[in-house]
């Protein structure tokens, strides 16, 4: 074993021993680098794999589940939907614009790799408080990066999240989801087959970007040590949306013309990952000529070529006969294409210096994946949850809200309002003429349509709904119950547009997995997600794990984020959104039980205290609510709809008011716990008075409780006995919150 080199590359001593066992000899430098990148946490999921198996992944519409580049769902009419979510947290902390931009580029490649045309992006974002200049710099840079890349590459960003919390100050969370459409029969998988076939590298030249990025950037925590940060600097990657746009068009044309056998994007671990993965999935081997790889700068060592994470590259496996047609297509789109590999029967990944030259590396292709270590890391609930027996309990005691005056209530409510259009107003969210419900509502609603992917003529316009949701406050109180609530909220958001939730992807942002409490949070979150997804019949079709989210030794609050895909059978104009209509009745569908534990009000309003247990989720009731709500929306029995999520009834009512410019008067909300408390399975609907009886009856039949809260209209926000606030003031607070704080230098 060559000294401590393996440790510097992030491999443990045991891992180094396994490599020797696999090879029957000591690895050389290049081989060690290849194992190091492939066996990193980022690529191998070594800490999370044992837990992820507990997620339900099967369902009637699932064509491709987790494990491929993206999940694929049958949407009917011969159309399939590909969907995937990823994090780009650590790169965004160092260079927010490029970190976010390259995150967008990467997730888009995962989608068109499957043969799908990318049609929508979502960007759940979490930053440190914007009162701090550095956090503002990170947040504005990330939003500009998503805007700069997403708009230019020609994929609309139709939704996301924007949240602030002190645990993200040194470690923002930049998650990006992409969704694409494909004709079902164009589905291709990332595998090589056919001995003698060629591996063609498409797209950008290869430079020193992100070398060691997988092991250093993605898996190392940030410190205050400037030298440590400086050493990571050369690894920053710059995105080129123009290259990616041409790559999308060229790839889709290659697939349409049936010119490729398999295709894979280059992401983490670059060529090493793409060549070994396609080979091992196809049960074959591959020879790679490092000298055939076009370089951006001279003098890259073979290990640099094999691990570079230069952006905007794809690896296509083609037959030799297809080569000239492939080159023609690429030339038209001005996409560079070079044969860099050949499929062999040996099962080995060999790196060569010239086709007949020296063998620089020779390893079993599959060993880079299948033999990657699996860790059973220790888990321990936090001390506050351990009672005398050492058993996990819900911990904490509910804290009654402090008494407050009407003025304080108004003040608190105003401070909880923030229009996220500061972010999404910078994103093209309309391209492809698909966007029926734009960002700003509970979920985005799009036509199921894309250039080259249309339903047969005469069939009704069908739709897909998308929502991303996370809630670190709930998960900090109870990661298992909190994750259940997140899944429930996401499904409910989708149902607000009339859609039926059919699939879910997740992005699991956690702290350091070497901390037993973090692994416990992770495991609990997985169980919560599994319970909710099983209960609601929503399969998990893909995901991504991001560990080591910590700054200055403190782990972030557990932040699982889910993206839910819903389907609508028939789109009609006039989909209700979070809005009130003058003189309509405001009804609450769902139970009245709420909790202040983990609520936004408790977290953000001074004077309030944390503690307690989250409100219980009744999965059966929730399923019935989803079905009822989608039906009411699709039958257009409601004028406005908004689920009650963070900030409780108070914020939900106020959001409906400011978005529609219509006030309300409601009663029967007796205290702050009811006004700001949070609980699942609750939706506000604004209903023409003539429909109230019908809706109440339908809800009764479905076993969903209803409560008439009051009436919409006027220019004040009135909760009898608690709140009386002018609409203009609420509008100004909502619209101005983010622009004001972000205009500070």
């Amino acid at each position: 074993m060559n000294g401590s080199l393996h440790r510097e590359l992030g491999l443990t001593d045991e891992e180094a021993v396994s490599i020797e066992r696999i090879l029957g000899r000591g690895p050389n430098h290049l081989e060690l680098a290849m194992y190091a990148v492939m066996w990193s946490e980022h690529c191998s999921y070594k800490s999370s794999r044992v837990h992820l198996r507990r997620l339900p992944t099967e369902g009637p519409g699932v064509l491709v589940g987790p494990g491929e580049n993206a999940g694929v769902i049958d949407a009917g009419d011969g159309i399939a939907v590909a969907i995937r979510i990823e994090s780009h947290n650590h790169p965004s902390a160092i260079e927010p614009y490029q970190g976010a931009a390259t995150g967008v580029g990467g997730i888009i490649r995962d989608i068109f790799t499957m043969g799908a045309r990318p049609i929508a992006l979502m960007d759940p974002l979490r930053f440190g408080p914007p009162t701090d200049a550095r956090n503002r710099w990170v947040a504005s840079g990330v939003v500009s990066g998503i805007s700069g890349y997403g708009n230019a590459v020609g994929v609309p960003t139709v939704g996301g999240e924007l949240e602030f919390g002190s645990c993200y100050a040194g470690n923002p969370l930049v998650n990006v989801l992409c969704c694409g459409l494909l004709p079902k029969d164009r589905l291709v998988l990332g595998r090589a087959g056919g001995v003698g076939n060629l591996a063609v590298l498409l797209g950008s030249t290869t430079g020193r970007d992100g070398i060691g990025g997988v092991s250093v950037l993605a898996s190392a925590a940030f410190t205050d040590d400037p030298d440590a940060e400086a050493s990571k600097r050369p690894n920053v990657q710059v995105g080129d949306p123009f290259e990616e746009k041409r790559l999308i068009e060229a790839t889709l044309e290659l697939l349409d013309k049936h010119l490729v056998v398999g295709i894979q994007d280059l992401g983490g671990a670059g060529l090493t990952c793409a060549t070994s993965e396609t080979a091992s999935r196809g049960g074959v081997g591959m020879d790679v000529d490092v000298e055939a790889v076009p370089l951006r700068e001279p003098g890259l060592a073979p290990y640099e070529v094999m691990t570079s994470e230069s952006q905007e590259r794809m690896l296509a496996i083609i037959t030799p006969e297809a080569l000239s047609s492939v080159l023609d297509v690429c030339q038209r789109w001005e996409v560079r294409a070079s044969v860099v590999g050949k499929v062999t029967a040996t099962g080995r990944l060999r790196v060569l210096k010239g086709w007949d030259g020296e063998v620089l590396a020779d390893v079993p292709a599959a060993s880079l994946h299948e033999d990657a270590p699996v860790c059973y890391r220790p888990m321990r609930p936090p001390a506050r949850l351990l009672d005398g027996d050492g058993m996990a309990t819900n911990g904490g005691v509910p804290t009654p809200p402090p008494p407050t005056s009407e003025a304080d209530v108004a003040h608190d409510l105003l401070s909880l309002l923030a229009d996220p259009s500061w972010a999404f107003g910078q994103y093209d969210h309309q391209l492809f003429r698909n966007t029926v419900v734009a960002p700003g509502a509970d979920a985005a609603l799009l036509r199921l349509s894309a250039p080259g992917v249309r339903a047969p003529s005469g069939s009704p316009a069908r739709g897909i709904a998308l929502s991303t949701d996370g809630n670190p406050r709930w998960c900090a109180v109870d990661p298992r119950a909190g994750t259940r609530l997140i899944v429930a909220e996401s499904a409910l958001n989708v149902a607000c547009t009339g859609a039926t939730p059919v699939a879910l992807v997740n992005c699991l942002n956690f702290g350091n997995p070497e901390h037993a409490e973090v692994m416990w949070q992770f495991s609990e979150a997985i169980d919560g997600m599994a319970e909710a997804c099983t209960g609601l019949g929503i399969p998990v079709v893909g995901g991504n794990v991001s560990f080591y989210n910590e700054s200055r030794g403190t782990d972030i609050d557990p932040t699982p984020v889910v993206g839910t895909l819903g389907l609508v059978d028939r789109l009609r104009p006039g989909t209700p959104t979070p809005a009130l209509t003058d003189r309509s009745t405001v009804l609450l569908l769902g139970p009245s039980s709420v909790s202040l534990a983990g609520s936004r009000w408790v977290a953000e309003c001074p004077g309030s205290q944390a503690g307690g247990a989250l409100a219980e989720l009744d999965l059966e009731l929730h399923s019935r609510l989803l079905e009822l709500l989608a039906a009411l929306v699709n039958e257009r029995l409601v004028d406005g709809v908004h689920d009650v999520s963070d900030g409780g009834l108070g914020v939900a009512l106020a959001e409906m008011a400011v978005k529609s410019g219509t006030g309300f008067r409601v009663s029967g909300i007796t205290g702050l716990a009811e006004l700001f408390g949070e609980g699942p399975s609750r939706v506000l609907i604004s209903v023409p008075p003539a429909n109230v009886q019908l809706i109440t009856d339908r809800a009764g039949a479905a076993g969903v409780p209803t409560a008439a809260l009051g009436t919409a209209g006027g220019d004040r926000l009135i909760v009898e006995g608690l709140l009386d606030l002018s609409l203009a003031e609420a509008e100004a607070a909502w619209k101005g919150a983010l622009p004001t704080v972000f205009s500070a230098p």
């Binding site: 700069g148 123009f242 910078q426 309309q430 391209l431 003429r433 036509r447």
Partner: protein, 233 residues
């Protein structure tokens, strides 16, 4: 109604991304649309040409700066000189100004951010291929989607544009800082038009507005009127 469908060429540069949207909206209005690759030089067989939105050549350097040297632009110049209707939408407008087929320039938005939102427009001239026959003063809801949409021109140019009735569309609530609230202008002949808003995005009931159809229909009518009664010559 013309008996033959109007044939519209939709120009595609590498990086263009609204070509399918424009083509689809025109086809829904009964036109024939064909995509024209930027490397082709001849536009002879077409009844109208649209330069759609997007990021030609990544918008690197300046929007439209590289695209204006594409072979197709020689064809567009010739086609426009012959009176053929040419409409540049968003990035297409930027290309037309860079190519000096329309005066002025489009600078970064006043707020220094990309803007994607609905805007209200007022039709202020009916002497262009895109607004002929549309009632002056008519208000239209059409979205914008751009970073560089802040129209700028020197005082002499502005005076000419105003005096000659070549400001065809103005923002009611100026989102980007354009001088004189200019959202769209035309050349002297009225056959070359550039505008920042996207009419093709306001072209279907499901999309929240159909006002863009007013403009697209006007274009097809203008193009149709130039056809020989017996069809194409």
């Amino acid at each position: 109604m013309a008996l033959v469908a109007v044939r519209v060429g939709v120009v595609v540069f590498p990086g263009t991304n609204c070509e399918h949207d424009v083509a689809e909206a025109l086809v829904e209005l009964g036109a024939e649309a064909q995509l024209v690759w930027h490397g082709s030089a001849s536009l002879d067989a077409l009844d109208a040409v649209v330069l759609p939105g997007g990021f030609a050549h990544g918008d690197y350097l300046r929007p439209g700066a590289i695209a204006r040297f594409s072979p197709v632009m020689a064809g567009v110049r010739e086609y426009a000189a012959g009176g053929g209707p040419v409409v540049g939408i968003c990035n297409g407008f930027q290309v037309l100004t860079e190519a000096h087929l329309l005066p002025g320039a489009l600078q970064k938005n006043k707020g220094l951010t990309f803007l994607c939102r609905m805007t209200e427009l007022e039709v202020t001239s009916d002497r262009s291929a895109l607004t002929a026959g549309v009632e002056l003063g008519r208000r239209l809801l059409v979205p914008v989607n751009h970073f560089e949409g802040n129209y700028t021109a020197g005082p002499a140019t502005l005076r000419r544009l105003e005096d000659e009735g070549r400001v065809v569309l103005r923002y009611v609530d100026n989102p980007n800082g354009s001088v004189h609230d200019i959202a769209g202008i035309c050349n002297e002949g009225g056959n070359v038009v550039g505008l920042m808003p996207h009419p093709e995005r306001a072209s279907h009931e499901l999309l929240g507005s159909t006002d863009g159809l007013v403009l697209l229909r006007a274009l097809l009518a203008w193009a149709g009127a130039r056809l020989e009664p017996a069809g194409r010559g």
